[in-house]
Structure formats: C-alpha cells, structure tokens
C-alpha cells in the first residue's frame, strides 16, 4: 500500500498534461526586423489529412464575398462598398450597420470561446483587425503556401466568416514606392476540413475568392473580406454548405499573387530580389458557436 501511494505521488508530475508547454517559442519568434524571418509557414499536420471528398465554390466580389476595399481602419464605419443595394434593402441586412471599428473586438473568436486564446494563431482570433500599434504581434505573415490549423473546438453553427488582411513586400529602393502600392490582387483559397466519424478521412469544403484587391505597402491599412455565402450560392445550395461546414475542425489559407512583377515573388523560399507576403490580421466567425 505504501509503495502504491509513493508511486502515485511520483506519477502526479508525470501525468501532467503540460497544456501550457505544448506551443512555446524563443523570445520574439516571428518578430524580427528582417522581413524574411517573419514568415509563418506552419500547417500543423492539416496538410497531411486524407481527403474523402471535396466541394469547391468560386466566389466573386459582391457575389459571395465583399471587401472594405482598402478603407482605412479608422473609417471602417464608412463602407461605401458594402451599402445595401437600394433595390433590395433586405439583401444584406447585416452589412452596413455592423461593420464599425468595434466589429473585430465584438466578434472575435476569443470573445466567443476562450479556447481560441492560446497559441501563436491567437493573433488571428483576438479582434485586432489592423495593426493597432502592435506591429508583428498583431499579424501572421504568410507566403503563398499560407497556413493551416486545427481549431481548438468543432464549429457547431455559423452564418458567415470574415478575415482582415493586407499585402506587404520587402521592396525598399531609394524610397521609391512599392510596385504593388496601387494594384495588388490575389486569388485566395480557403479550405475547411470536417472529420468523418469513425474514419481517418476528412470532407473538404473549398472557397476560392478570385481577384481580390487588397491594400499593399500602404502603411497599416487592411481590408476586411466578408464571405457571406450569398448570391453565387442560391438558397437551396446555401443550407447544405452550412451543413457541410458544421463540425469543421480545421482550416487552411493559401493564395496566389495575381499582380505580376518579375522582381517580386510570393514564395518565401524563392531566390527573388523581393518578396511578397500577406499580412493576415484576423479570422472571424461572427456569432458562431463551438463545442
């Protein structure tokens, strides 16, 4: 009996789950003044998942997604791009009134469920849709391979999702403006992974946002991209998509830079004079629930 008790005492530290030590970094990881050191290219095992099926949806601007179109963070309330169409005021009942500058703070995933608060990617769930003086601490810098992650919980219910981002380059030549300042366009690919019960495979729902114009090298301006699953996807198809996305456990984000410039690459590993990155600030599932 005494030996058993002793073993139990010894086992207590060993049984520790060490939840706080699972994801640790050296000080100021991804916080370098060297642009190339800050790329986050982790896929956290999501890229190795077995796909059982894949559904794809191509979304066009104002037909499936909307963008603040480079509106400055301070004036997010002024979303001239997102006003309700006059001919159908009920079409976007949520859009013009709710996108104030407080939108991120009120709808971020950490506010919905605190399990999103832990880890490097908590930057994407903290409600900061723009820099807010935090610089590298508020964003995730991505190359074209993007990033993937498992969510801490399963998506139970949602109506739409959104993300805020901007482009950036390490272009700095005699104070000349970046070639992408005026025209920066991307194709963005977002995958959601839903685990199939009693299986090691996953159903994938893929959204392709084509020709998305975003601000680039223009200070801290960010765009809020809102994917609301409307217009392109009619009512009959929309509900099945919601059903498909229910129980989503992971997502991935990749992109391609559409604006061509021979000196500029969207691949962080490419031997190119200059490199492009997407600065992703926030991923939002407003009014979602997780279990």
């Amino acid at each position: 009996m005494k030996k058993r008790n002793l073993a139990l005492i010894v086992l207590i530290p060993l049984l520790a789950s060490c939840t706080k030590t699972k994801e640790l970094y050296a000080d100021y990881a991804y916080y370098s003044t060297d642009f190339m050191q800050n790329y986050y290219t982790e896929h956290n095992g999501v890229n190795e998942l077995k796909e059982a099926s894949r559904k794809s949806f191509d979304l066009l601007k104002n037909h499936g997604y909307q963008s603040t179109n480079g509106a400055k963070g301070e004036s997010l309330q002024d979303l001239s791009c997102c006003v309700r169409p006059e001919d159908n005021p009920n079409k976007y009942p949520w859009i013009s009134s709710q996108y104030s500058e407080e939108f991120g703070r009120h709808n971020n995933l950490t506010a919905i469920d605190t399990s999103f608060a832990y880890g490097y990617l908590s930057k994407l769930y903290d409600g900061r849709v723009r820099c807010e003086g935090k610089y590298q601490l508020s964003r995730v810098q991505l190359d074209k391979t993007g990033y993937s992650t498992f969510f801490p919980k399963r998506l139970e219910n949602f109506k739409y999702f959104a993300f805020s981002l901007r482009g950036a380059t390490d272009y700095y030549v005699d104070n000349k403006p970046s070639p992408l300042t005026k025209d920066c366009r991307l194709d963005i690919h977002i995958n959601f992974y839903k685990h199939i019960a009693n299986s090691s495979e996953y159903d994938v729902v893929n959204f392709n946002l084509q020709n998305v114009a975003i601000p680039c090298d223009a200070g801290g301006d960010t765009d809020l991209i809102v994917v609301y699953l409307a217009d392109d996807i009619n009512e009959k198809e929309r509900q099945p998509i919601y059903d498909d996305l229910t129980d989503t456990v992971a997502m991935s984000f990749t992109f391609e830079l559409k604006t061509t410039n021979p000196e500029l690459s969207d691949d962080s590993k490419a031997d190119s004079p200059y490199h492009f990155a997407v600065m992703l600030y926030e991923v939002l599932f407003p009014k979602s629930s997780w279990r």
Partner: protein, 475 residues
Amino acid sequence: MAQKTFREEYESIGTFLVLEILALVSFGLGGVSLIFQYAGFIVALIATFFAFKNYSKDDLIPVLCLGAPLLLLSVFTGFGYSFSNGDILAKLGCFLGLISFLAIGLSARRMKSFSTRNAIYCIGGGLALLTLIGTIATWAQYGVFYPLIHAKAGSYYYDGNLYSILNEMAWLQGFKVVEVSQNYGGLFALMSASFLPALLFVKYKEDKIMFIVFAVIGGIGLISILSIPNFYALVFFAIAFAAALFYRFLRNNELAIKILKYAILIIVGFAGVLVIIALLNASNSNVSSFIAGSSFLNRIFNGNRIMIVANPIIAAALRVENLFGLNHIISGYDIPMDAIRTSSGAFEIEIIKEGGIIAFLLFIIFALFAYESFSRYLKSSKDADYVKVIFLTLIVGFVFYSTLCFDVFPVTHDSGVYLPFTTSLPLFIIIFVIGFTALPKGKEDVSYQKEVKKEEPQINVEDEYTFIDVEEEEM
C-alpha cells in the same frame, strides 16, 4: 461552580470566528481582500468584546505603539489621494483591514479559550491548501522544473499577446485556476514552508499529530518552491531556516546574540543610508548626476527593476501636493502612471504608491515598534518554542521576500487586477502575528489562558475552556 458571565459563556464563539477568519485569510479565496477587511473588522469587534476585561493598563503602551502608527498609516492608504478614484466601501475597507487584524491578534492573545496551536493549524492549513492546489495545477499545466527545461524557448501567445512561462505559474484565484506570477504564488509557498523549521522543536514520539501536521504544511510549501523552482523563495526560506536554527542552538549564546544584534544594526543602518541616498537621487538633480557618473552606483540606484519603478514614485511622493498620497488631481501628468501600473517588487515602494511618503514613515515607525515587541516576545514569552519559531520564520520570510518579490499585479493575462500591499492577505496574517505577540513590557510571561498543570490527567471539556493549548502551558 460559579455562574459564568455572558463573556465567559460565549467566548468560544469569538474564538471560533477568529480561527475561521485566520483560516480563510490564509486560504485567500482569490485575494478578495475587501470581504476580509470587513469580516476582519467584525471579528475584531467581537474578539475585543470578549477579551476586553483581560486588557490592562500595561497593555496601553503596546496597543498605542503598534496601533497608532498603523491606524494613521491606514488613514493615508485608505483615504489618501492615491485611491481617490475608489469608492467609499473600498476606501473604508482599506482603512479597516490592517488595524482590524492587529486588534484580532491583540485580543486573541487575551481570550481565555483561544488556542495558539489551533490558530497555527488554521493559518498553516489555509496556506498549505492554497499552495497545494496551485502546485498541482502548475504541475498539470506546466510540468515540473519548467523554467529550467524551457529556459531557451519559454514564450507563448495568449489572446494575441506574448507571454513567458518562465515567470508564471497556475494559481487558484476565486473559483478558477488562472496564470499568476511566480512571485505571487511563491509568497504563499514560502509562508507554508515556514512551518518546516518548527520540526526542530517537535519530537515525533511526543506529539505525532503535530509533527505530521507541520511536516505536511511545510513539506507542501517546500515541494512547491523546489518543483518550479522558485529561486528567490528558496533563498528566503534558507534565511528563515537559518533564523530558526539560530534560535534553536544559539539563543542562549551571549556572544552570538551580540554578533546578531550588531549585524542587524549594521544591516538596518546600511539600509537607512541606501534609503536616504535613494530619496536624494530621486529628488535632487545634483545627486542623481553624481550617481549617474558611477556605473556601480548607477546600477544600484537607477538601473534595476525595482529602482526603475521606485525613482519616479519617490520623486512624485516628495512633492508637497503628494504628501497625503499621490494626488492625481493636482499633480496631473506629473504622476508617473507607468510606474504606478508596474509592480516594483518592493513592498516599501508599494506603500509609498498607496499612501505617500508620510505613510511610509509611519510604516517605518510601526516596523520599529513591531521589531522591539517581537524581540521581547521571543526572549521572554511563555509560548512554546515551535510557536515562536513559526512566527519568526513567517515574519522573516515575508519581510525579505516582500522586499524583492512582492507582486501587486499578479494575474498574467489581466494586468487590471491590482492587489495593493496594504490590503494583501499575507500581510494581514503577519499583522495578526505582530498583534498576537505584543505583550506588555515586563509581563511577557503573563498567561491569559486558563492554567493547566501537567499532572492533571484530563481536561474536563464541560468545566474548562475547550481550546486550551496544553503544550504551551507545559513550557
């Protein structure tokens, strides 16, 4: 049998309430000190009522010497400008807290049915339980020796902000476990470990229960300190243990006592000189320029984590408009808000923050009287040696640790949780101990509790007071 008075009849209720509040304050309940400030005040009134007839004229001097500076200090910390934004309940609670626990200590000593042993069990039990829960939660979330294992890469992100596990641990805060600084949790662990030196005076064969209780309480504290490990807590535990060893083996050695007295005088004198230079450095540009010229002096008086916070606080506190606390209204932007919102680590600086420079001077006066009173207690009191040593190690550990490591912003992920020093629960315990050990000069051996002779076979619980500490009476 003579008829018992109301006080005698119901004194055990007062005793129970004192013990209960000691246990609850030691356990902490998340540092919600406001509840304990008011509860302490009520218990102090009740305890004083039951002990009132045992107070004598001889008690006037210790009560005044300790009570007056503490009362005035509480006026400054409670109603000074520093908490001008607080509501009246918070101000009143701050005012009542310290003086209430001093009164509880003074009165508990003078209650016939009060048992020192039970009081020590309650304090130790509360501290050990809190430390145990925090330590197990820390093991579960971080593992053991995690600051050493993850020394090279110990940063993590929470809610988009960067933190380090190297300085934090898990702790019970209210009804949930949160991340707090190791400095905060370490104080409770150190105070729990302070019960370990009492084993120098308790023999297992003579009192198994007491030996086991102290071993468990102290063991939990020490294991907590070692399993993290908390370097500062370990060092100050060693100092407290050394004090206990001195008391155990050298208390009758006149030469050793003389050396100790001189050593304390030198340390106090040296500290006094440092304080004066620090005051001048913070307030006088000529002195600060002189100090800045020497890298050694600059490091002591400017370039360390304590003085970076302390200097702007001292400079602000020495302005006329801030004598009654840092006056936000008059001083406006001259108040160093960044320093106020940063934990200095030194409780002395925190007192200046909370009550101003006069409050700090009052605290010095209180500390001097407390030192004199406790020294007399150690030398002349009839209390058992284990009691004296537990009180000694508690005070020594607390004072040293709080001079370097006291954290008023302990919750890692919520910098808005401010636990001021003068309303902190560990301080309430120490103030209780100082009150409890304050005895009238020349009458340190007076016993307020009912005498029990060793030869008596058994205490009749119906006829005698039920909480009599037999061990104390045997000394």
